[in-house]
Symmetry: D4
Subunit: 253 residues, 8 copies
């Protein structure tokens, strides 16, 4: 609802002053004391709330899962620990935990239909955890995902065999640690927009992912933009935005 | 042409061995001695070659502009200097130079039709040079661009007045220096994918743009990916890829 | 007592040479062997000593709590561990420990009256530990604190609903991790001086809080100064100094 | 004017829908094409707009000075060059330029009355440029400033002779380059809140001011907050906010 | 087999289209689901696959060892843990684990003949783990290795007694932590190419090996190139390449 | 023995060729396989070997203590763990362990006479571990040490009361973490050469001691040189060198 | 000559004590006051002295060229300026200057025969200056060089067409700026040892070559070692060492 | 004069209260408006004031030279420019300027007697400017200096020929850029305390001297402490302090 419409309705009396004030202030959140749950989020952006589990206190996490499950009939959380899985399993027997990606989710009763196509690639096997965070996030938001793992530059022939498959995606998520050259190489071989995800995989002068981040940010190839180190979630989110645009679906599912 | 097709044609004799070898090796570039001009680029990716002028020697630059103009009837260059403009003007009287963005271009005879919609925003007036590199790059590739400048966080009411306009874009390019908070704020207010461009604008602990880069990479808002400091070209390129997807146009114009 | 006064009293004989020397050397501390307890601190600055518990040896910590309790009838410590709480509880049954902020304190018999108004805000729920260190420090020094948590930029409407409340404070403490954009946004919306506290919350290229620190230091908004990463104590202290000035109370309680 | 009031007036007809919309959107800026001049700023925050001259194009700078002079009868700019002074002097004969601080200002006809007290200190003589930016900014906003220069730690007796003078200020601005120890030492000797300004003065491992910035951010003394390297303006601004609070004057002059 | 040859064979019918396509795509890897095992590697490069054990999941590691042992009759892994040794010993009783270097290997039935000569040196005793990774890697690839440990610059006479021995090597691997001066000193005393390996040995401003890395990269001595911090494997690999060249053996064993 | 003398003796026959060669090569170390024990060190430099215990394998450490005890009747080790103490106590009942500094030593039968005077200061109590490493190292080499702890800048009057005591030292070792301002302040108050030791004490932007290191390196005070973060040993060693010079004792005890 | 031989000759009288002392001390340099010219260098290492021209004073440079020309009949200098060329041309009419690489040399009368094969590659045209420093250095030392320029990853088909040519080299020098991915890609396609040279080409977060350096140091491909940013000379030197080994020529020409 | 003495004299009337206050406050400086000239410095520390010329305004510099010449009959300044030399030569015809080190001095009528012995070494010829700053500073303070230049590790035999000479110094100043290994090597060969001076000489990953600084700070050799990058003055100062101690001369000349 646009501001002019709101004011016109106030003037016409079809909206009370109080209600208009609430809308204008956009108080569409639920105050939980320790947090302000963004309940209007899906309506506003087309993307339901995702729970970042890391370092949340046990009872806070439980309350959030309970409240979101009540509201949406499903919950999707990232960066969860084994301990948090045990904790929540007592309350939600159907909860599923993937130790590789740290995703902890309660699936909806009716599985979501996936559409469009996003490719999620990794340079090595150690990058799979981050890639799965990206892939499952995109799937949670309704995107069809093609996984292409372990195609890093140290054995380029593996990558070449997948170029045609990559060209069929609306968007490519390229996950790589160490020197992080994968997005540059993909950028030189395909025409798809690439979301590059540096990972903290490596040792020594990788500086916990800084090396891969700098490589990707400085890429001389075209059509590459970068998210934070290990930020699979962010890549899956933006890949979904692009995939929806390609589907002509706007930003709501 | 797929590899299997090539080989089948070789077997059938409709393609000579030499020709097939050339295609397989993809020698679709022009050897200029000092450079290998990527002449097949537009056919391959839907994006014509753009000249990065900075630090190119005078005669190299001239040769490249001559060769590209001959081939395409237009040339688009970034990061050019006043000196390079003077140099090329002697050969191309119709060449146009924009000192704010450093763009040096020979427009085609028939102006390009612009379609879709990308918003290019800046936090301050000092970011306009980078923003123009992004905007004019996107326009060169056929994208309609809405410019929204000087809406940084130090006077947030300026930004609020533009939110509806931002929501109509397929993609937002957000250009900011100093602390670089603009993309985060836009990410909290709109649902569009945002390409964040940190600039070197600022002083002291901005470390020539590192501060803005880190802010954007660490954004807690969703739907943000980042390109290099001052890389307007890269942002304009990727915004075009996304805009074309939204138009259902694929990656060719 | 000013130096001139001291010397006049010496000349007049109302002060012995020894005593004057002691005052001039300001030996107003208590030598504890491993430490020099600053017993004159409250008289000198209006702020009683606060114990930084982290990495203090058990018996050292105990001696300091005993000595300060004896002297002041209350003790306030920061960055304490569960173990230190167990240790001291054996000697001070009324001691209180807050595991979120790490504050370990023995309250005085008569609760302190709180006056003025300081707002302590966080961007997210993970910043609450640091925010509580700031808030409880300010309260220990007699400041009334308004807590406004979880108003980060990823859901800006939560923040907008609190602007009027923020404007009523004499000073705002803004606590944020990740990209740390909260102080910039507050600086663009309010007229209060802001003490910005970067936190180590986040991952990847946040570099343990460096990203948030740089954002805050480079803010283009006015009226922002920054303390160390996770330094809630320092922010609570300076907010109290400003609040006291606003109360016209000088720097003593 | 509060939102509820605006809506009530719309309902009662004393405010048109258009006008209310404009207020709610807070379009209180003047669109200048290349910039959005924040004309409502002084009313909103009690601080008039200050011009950051560095790297502004000649005609942009001239337009801004003309527009602000027209509106306020005075203009205050920082980081100006000799060239910019020459440029503007042709239009404003009474303009004054201070090459040490880079301040370029047109004073109002009636000099401003200065009140309260802020001390601006430097460690060395090379820090005076930044200190003057702080001092003159504070004076522009109506603050009385006491200048205490060249009291760095390499000759501590110079500092000791000024402690009483420092204690009379409501707020201390401490400007230092190289190792930047001055704010720590002042924090150990006075009870006033200190705004620390690291400068880029020094060489070698000072890393253009990073060394001084880190020193100040890590200070073990109490009551210190830090602004950007060489950011005299920011320190003068915040010192004024604190000084006004101490005067009980709120945030308007 | 060169591309022209392949195509000629296709034309002549001595190679099927399918087979040619497979060769051209170089699909010479084995898809294991979680990984693409590079089975053609030894044929292609003369170096068999080495397993980087760190952070590989238990069953993945086991599958890889099983598959490689089946194929080659030996397996060589680096950065293995005690736990991984226990795990694999249950399946390969003859497996050998060296806790100093973390090497976990199954030796072939017939010991390999070692030829040529590479010197592996360390500055201190704490660098021996990395040095052993280099030495044993080189030995795995058939290189004869001379170990010269604990010859750092703090006791230069130890180094001088070994200069003649160093001159007999085809290549020197110099392993050093802390300030990492050993390769520079060796470069000033010998004429052999030196592969410098910085280690994370040290504390404080060594920044986990960055100090040693910078020292080695900036060396004013000739004939030094550097690999990653603690990368003994990489040094052993390249030393073998150089040793084989010196033996006139090309790059296959 | 000078080279000329050696050669003359060879010519005259009073030295065999073999013996001369050994001397010239200075093979005055004991090869222990994993290490080359520098047995000629005390004769050469006047300082006996000190054992850096950290990360030495158990049996290596034991062998070194045994060999050095046999040779010198005393052993002095730094950075030892509780575990290493337990290990060695079984073999050397008289061994002494100081958990604060990590020093693990077997004292000689006759206590060493201490001479000269070195002052070892700390800013806070958390710096005492590093200070004790410096103090006990200096004592091991025969230096008389005055300990002055907890005189940091946050309570400057504590420092002032010790200035005269500091002036009596030949050399001052100043140990400080956080912002590390202590050496600068001492440099402004005394005329003694100062060896500054940054410590990793602090949090946030102290970057594990980097902040204190940069402060000390950039000090504007005179007569300050810096050793590595937490390097008490290095400071105690160099302080001894200077103290011996002041005693006119040369570099031997 | 080995030490034992020298001493034996002294004993036998065939070598005087003075002469032996001179040899043992290796005083094979020429004292020029401001410098110690390493005249024995070529004899000792097989590589003649190369002049690093940057920032050498005019008369120093002239003296060095004169002395080396006298001695060797040729001189080879790197990083020379136009000004230095003008200066020396007055004395050496036959001197040649290459402004792209900064090489300033006087060729010998008889051209050197080049042998073996080293490939020098660049990612882009802006890297050619550094590549020429490497190529011409290698040629100065007698190595045959194959130049392969502008084969960066943004147009991978250019690189693929050169793989066979690369495989014929004994050693590859890979020069790249920006993200520096070229050596990784080459490492995945060829079996030759690669000396990676990061360049300062790029902007923004390339940090003057640091980005490319980190990429190359962290490469997951095998057989890569790295020299300093822009250090073409160092790469050409080491490539020559390896090429000579492959020729079985040892380290002398 | 000790504090007790002052107070006793006040009591006895032999010192007025005003005078005592002045002494206690140590107002022994001359207020010059822009600076506080430390006139009591030589009396207090035994070292006369040295002028740091860089970036001092012309008239300030002139006033300082005039005032110091008046007081001491000589002036010694560092980091002066050609321009400053021209400026001052008009007033002091006897002034001497050394463009290599930037020292600008007016010698006293009677040349100073030099005593003791300090060795100042450089790794290369480009380090001589910094070394001369150290050497001439030490000479200004009365120290005899032995210069040993161009003995870096790339030609170690040059260094070996100077070891005996180095052993005769009371203190060694070791100046080196690039990888900065010289102090480590000297520390392994001599028993003298070493003041290490990193220089900004080098390129690429030397990061303007950071590389050399880290090398020196992390040195595994004993008896090394470090001053700021290019800080020859600081090294010359501290070397003098140590030299004076060795002469038994205390800290006054």
């Amino acid at each position: 609802m646009k501001i002019g419409d709101i004011l016109t309705q106030v003037k016409e009396g079809s909206l009370t002053v109080d209600e208009a004030e609430r809308i204008l202030r956009k108080e569409s959140y639920e105050e939980m004391g320790f947090a302000k749950l963004d309940t209007g989020r899906k309506a506003r952006t087309g993307f339901a709330e995702v729970v970042y589990c890391r370092s949340k206190a046990d009872d806070f996490l439980l309350q959030i899962y309970e409240r979101l499950y009540e509201q949406n009939g499903e919950v999707f959380g990232t960066r969860a620990t084994e301990h948090q899985y045990e904790l929540l399993r007592a309350h939600f027997p159907g909860i599923v935990y993937d130790p590789v990606s740290g995703i902890l989710k309660i699936d909806p009763e009716t599985p979501r239909t996936l559409s469009g196509r996003v490719a999620v690639c990794t340079a090595g096997t150690a990058d799979i955890g981050v890639a799965e965070e990206a892939a499952q996030t995109a799937e949670y938001f309704g995107t069809y995902v093609e996984r292409i793992y372990d195609i890093g530059v140290s054995g380029m022939h593996r990558l070449f065999s997948k170029v045609e498959s990559l060209e069929q995606a609306n968007c490519i998520v390229a996950v790589a640690g160490m020197e992080g050259a994968l997005p540059s190489v993909l950028g030189g071989l395909t025409s798809r927009p690439i979301i590059a995800v540096p990972t903290s995989v490596g040792y020594g002068a990788n500086f916990h992912g800084l090396s891969a981040l700098l490589t990707m940010i400085n890429s001389c190839a075209n059509g590459i933009a970068v998210v934070n180190i290990d930020n699979g979630y962010g890549a899956g989110y933006m890949a979904t935005q692009i995939n929806r645009l390609a589907l002509g679906a706007g930003f709501t599912e």
